[in-house]
């Protein structure tokens, strides 16, 4: 079963919750998640952010749920790194 190791998302979010709140909410989904969030554009009511999430098995559906709950929306999945598990010799 392949698992996602790294994913880069283009996210549109309101000013509140701020970048720290959103990144913390995503990181709290799993103990091994590492989240890097960079604000790349600021508008009157919204911000565009590049969100990089790294982990042993990144759960996209859960991340999408958290971003949606915080009022954000995923515009695109820009980068994904997926690793396949070793084939069972038997």
């Amino acid at each position: 079963m392949p698992s996602v190791k790294r994913i880069v998302l283009d996210v549109l979010k309101p000013h509140h919750p701020n970048a720290l709140d959103l990144a913390s909410a995503i990181a709290s989904l799993a103990p091994d998640y590492r989240v890097s969030l960079t604000i790349i554009a600021v508008d009157e009511k919204t911000e565009s952010a590049e969100v990089i999430i790294e982990g042993e098995a990144v759960d996209f559906a859960a991340i999408n749920g958290v971003i949606g709950t915080m009022g954000g929306t995923i515009h695109s999945i820009d980068v994904v790194e997926v690793a396949g598990s070793p084939v069972d010799p038997l």
Partner: protein, 194 residues
């Protein structure tokens, strides 16, 4: 319970409503305290008014202030929150009804209304307490009307010091400033009663 409080604090934070709630505590609390002070000063100046009559009048006014605070804050906050949500949805080009912003649009007006309604009610009850104790024939070391007036001045002083803390000014001066307003109000009532 603590998760609930955290969630409510989060909703107040994302809507920028903490300052509004704080303002309502002071504004309507001050309203409640001054209204009670005015009523009790009026009773005091007009002579012998039974404690039961004074308690009924004060509680009636307190309930009216609470209902007025609840309903006016709820109606205005619902309108403000819905407008803010519509504008945010327009900017985000998505529906936010299920997000924290949607939840805040539903819950924040209720929280603000409770603050706006309970603040004058609790302060009024506190000020009326000595009169109520007297009406229940519980002996007090001082005259109940004077005690209620004293409590009213004390509460007004505390509200003033709270404002001083918010604006980072000298708390004692803020408290004295609020007490001066109450003193002028009392003087006006006494002058008009004569």
């Amino acid at each position: 319970m603590s998760n609930w409080i955290k969630q409510l604090a989060f909703l107040l934070y994302i809507t920028g409503s903490r300052g509004i709630a704080r303002r309502y505590v002071v504004v309507n609390g001050f309203d409640g305290a001054l209204t009670m002070l005015g009523l009790i000063m009026g009773f005091h100046a007009s002579g012998e008014v039974p404690a039961t009559v004074a308690v009924s009048a004060c509680l009636g006014a307190a309930i009216a202030l609470a209902v007025s605070g609840l309903s006016s804050a709820y109606l205005s906050e619902v309108a403000e929150r819905r407008k803010a949500l519509r504008e945010l949805e327009k900017a985000m080009i998505v529906k936010l009804g299920r997000s924290a912003h949607g939840q805040a649009t539903r819950l924040v007006p209720i929280m603000i209304a409770l603050v706006n309604g309970l603040s004058p009610l609790l302060i009024s009850v506190l000020i009326t307490l000595p009169l109520w104790l007297s009406s229940q024939h519980i002996p007090l070391p001082v005259d109940p009307m004077s005690a209620s007036i004293g409590v009213a001045f004390g509460v007004i002083f505390l509200l003033g010091t709270y404002l001083g803390r918010i604006e980072h000014s000298f708390w004692l001066w803020s408290g004295i400033r609020a007490v001066l307003i109450a003193a002028v109000t009392s003087a006006l009532i006494i002058a008009l009663e004569r």
